[in-house]
């Protein structure tokens, strides 16, 4: 291996993990309520506002924040910057989990969860959502294929299933060996495919709202919304890696990986810069800046999004002093992540105002519990995965 990722092998049941379990339990209760009383029983959704935080946060934001997976793969594997390989594994794990939970979130949100397979057989090529669904479905498969070698690396030659399953040890081991050998040869196809599929559906998520010109606030409704979604997803990829790597390394008391994170944030200056120029340029060209001082919730949300989610962190990263301090890098990355989260919430929730019968929307408690529960479950599985699988770089462990 070019880098030596290894399982953490730490005690799993820390106080933090127990807190996650509490949230997961609460979320599970809310999900049970949704499948007994209906969507209306647990959410504040109405006929005029059919999409709430389950779509705006669980799906749209989840997809955006999983962008670290394809952006790091592109950098390290396609553009040959092998220096960055240590962060590709945690980023890939985030993407695998992120997309898995996007699908779980969708299963909770759509009215007929059991019919989720139907788009595979009933095609509507005019539907943006159809394209997004196909891409997400194929990409999720690609992500699992990309992740398989990590599992193989850990368990190849030492498969040891418990109890009655132990009879399958040899078979599973052989499958892992074969998969590992074949995948090593064709992995390049999946890596490129992953990047292509990501570019497609990251942008198309923005096209979703183009069909409703009278409902989305003009500050966000622009024909280049797909371009903005794509550039923001690419821009948030490395900050998300910085954000989660810092959280993981500080939680496991590992070396902070600043030698990799600092140059990543340097690239982010350009990527975020592109997004900022396109976004501000779009506002100037369409003349939507006239709304900026009207004091409505929408406008204020837009100002916060651009000022604190894009401009401030971009300006921060210009300073070498910020880029070289672990705290500075983390803070800037967190702002960028927050900015993209707020952008997706703005496009799908805050900026969405049906003119005839909107009576305001704020998510119900049980609606929030589902979202929190899913996030907690994601973090829990991440924790389990890095504990037992070689994901995190651990060569320079620092003892505290």
């Amino acid at each position: 291996m070019a880098h030596n990722a290894r399982p953490m092998n730490r005690p799993l049941w820390t106080p933090g993990v127990l807190v996650m379990l509490v949230f997961m339990f609460a979320g599970a209760l809310a999900i049970i309520a949704r499948f007994t009383g209906g969507i209306g029983y647990v959410t504040n959704l109405t006929h005029a506002r059919p999409w709430g935080i389950w779509v705006g946060i669980d799906v749209a934001t989840g997809v955006a924040l999983a962008a670290g997976g394809f952006t790091t793969a592109a950098l390290a594997h396609i553009f040959g910057r092998h220096y960055y390989e240590p962060v590709t594994r945690p980023a890939l794990l985030t993407a695998v989990l992120g997309y898995t939970f996007v699908v779980i979130g969708l299963l909770v949100d759509i009215g007929r969860s059991w019919a989720i397979w139907k788009p595979m057989f009933h095609w509507n090529f005019n539907s943006v959502l159809f394209e997004v669904a196909m891409c997400v479905m194929i990409y999720l498969t690609v992500l699992y294929i990309e992740f398989l070698p990590i599992v193989a690396e850990q368990f190849k030659g030492r498969v040891n299933l418990p109890g009655i399953l132990s009879k399958l040890n040899n078979l599973v081991d052989k499958l892992l060996q074969v998969a590992d050998r074949i995948l090593g040869k064709v992995m390049w196809v999946f890596i490129i495919l992953g990047v292509v599929l990501s570019c497609m559906h990251q942008s198309s998520l923005g096209s979703l709202m183009l069909v409703a010109p009278t409902k989305l606030h003009p500050l966000w409704y622009t024909p280049i919304l797909p371009l903005l979604f794509l550039t923001s997803a690419i821009a948030v990829g490395y900050p998300m890696v910085v954000f989660e790597t810092t959280l993981a390394t500080s939680s496991f008391k590992l070396n902070s990986e600043m030698h990799i994170l600092a140059p990543l944030t340097r690239i982010t200056i350009y990527l975020l810069g592109v997004y900022m120029v396109v976004k501000v340029g779009d506002m100037v060209v369409r003349g939507t800046w006239v709304y900026l001082l009207d004091g409505t919730t929408q406008t204020n949300a837009f100002i916060v999004e651009v000022l604190f989610g894009v401009m401030l962190p971009w300006a921060m990263l210009l300073f070498q002093r910020v880029r070289q301090s672990a705290k500075g890098v983390f803070f800037a990355a967190a702002l960028i992540v927050g900015g993209v989260v707020l952008n997706r919430i703005n496009v799908f929730i805050v900026g969405f105002k049906p003119p005839l019968s909107d009576n305001g929307y704020f998510p119900a408690v049980s609606e929030i519990l589902v979202t929190l529960g899913l996030v907690a479950a994601l973090m829990f599985i991440y924790r389990v995965a890095v504990t037992y699988l070689p994901v995190l770089q651990a060569s320079k462990e620092v003892r505290s």
Partner: protein, 306 residues
């Protein structure tokens, strides 16, 4: 990564050939509206708010009886919208119009699915469960629906409603234009058949436009010179004429561009025959092959995991 130039070009050759056979063609967007559809003309100056159409609609479509079906008074105190139990409702508006004694005159306005010529919901539906029929009706096929509710997001008239309290098999509920009835000769939608004041005229859309224009021309003092639905979002099967501005009776001001035009144009020009994904795959593959060769030259084989 074990990608060699030979591997890569062989792969791309195949991909390229498949694209070359059917070159991407960026057709200009065209309306998919079927020719010679049916429609309804609603004349707001004739509606007296009797709500018989609500009752007929419920009977024809097997819906629960309208809320206080006999009430033509206090029921109007709240502004109602069509929902999962009512495909059409009548609302009362005081728009500032007064009679000769300076008493405010109400205007009653029926709301239902407009059955757009190029419906946003049909374009949006992930599985094609919504279709524009030759009759002009926008039909919902529950057997395909997955419940994503994108149709409700897309609809500029905020019409589709959802059975939010059905946990497993909720349906999208909206006016059917009585598709089965109007498919038969001389069939009328339930509401149009019962209307005692002929406020709802059913017929071929072209004919209705002529009728509307005639009324507008003959009574310029009564009607606003605007047929709502003639051009709104590319035209709708249901159209309105009125003596008061349409936005005062909750008919939204909409652009003439069909709602699906922009998103469909973008999707089809980017993804027809998957030309852009294949091209991107090729460019990235070329980069990967080159970067990988440089590695080999530097005698620094990389077998890094993913």
């Amino acid at each position: 990564m074990q990608i060699t130039r030979r591997h890569f070009f062989r792969f791309m050759g195949a991909a390229g050939a498949s694209v070359a056979v059917r070159p991407p063609s960026a057709h200009a967007w065209q309306s998919k509206a079927p020719p010679d559809t049916f429609g309804c003309l609603v004349d707001l100056t004739r509606c007296v708010g009797c709500r018989k159409c609500e009752e007929a609609c419920a009977t024809v479509n097997g819906l629960p009886e309208p809320e206080r079906a006999d009430c033509q008074c206090t029921i109007f105190e709240k502004n109602r919208r069509p929902d999962e139990t009512a495909f059409t409702v009548i609302n009362r508006y005081y728009t500032g119009k007064v009679d000769t004694f300076d008493k405010p005159v109400p205007t009653y306005a029926k709301v239902q699915c407009m059955h757009c010529q190029d419906p946003a919901c049909v374009s949006a539906c992930i599985v094609g469960a919504l279709t524009k029929e030759d009759t002009g009706a926008v039909r919902y096929d529950v057997s395909k629906c997955i419940g994503c509710r994108y149709c409700m997001v897309a609809c500029p008239f905020e019409i589709p409603a959802y059975e939010y309290f059905d946990p497993i098999t909720p349906r999208v509920m909206k006016c059917t234009f009585c598709q089965e009835r109007i498919s038969k000769a001389d069939g009328l939608p339930g509401c149009a058949a019962i209307c005692p004041t002929e406020a709802i005229t059913f017929g071929r859309r072209d004919t209705l436009l002529k009728v509307a224009k005639k009324r507008l021309k003959e009574n310029p003092g009564i009607y606003l010179q605007h047929i709502y639905g003639e051009k709104e979002v590319g035209g709708t099967a249901w159209m309105y004429i009125s003596s008061v501005p349409f936005d005062t009776v909750n008919l939204p001001t909409l652009p003439d561009t069909p709602a699906p035009k922009l998103s469909e144009t973008i999707q089809h020009s980017l993804f027809s025959y998957l030309w852009s994904p294949v091209l991107l795959f090729g460019v990235l593959g070329a980069f990967m092959a080159r970067c990988n060769q440089e590695d080999h030259k530097e005698n620094n084989p990389d077998k890094g995991g993913v």
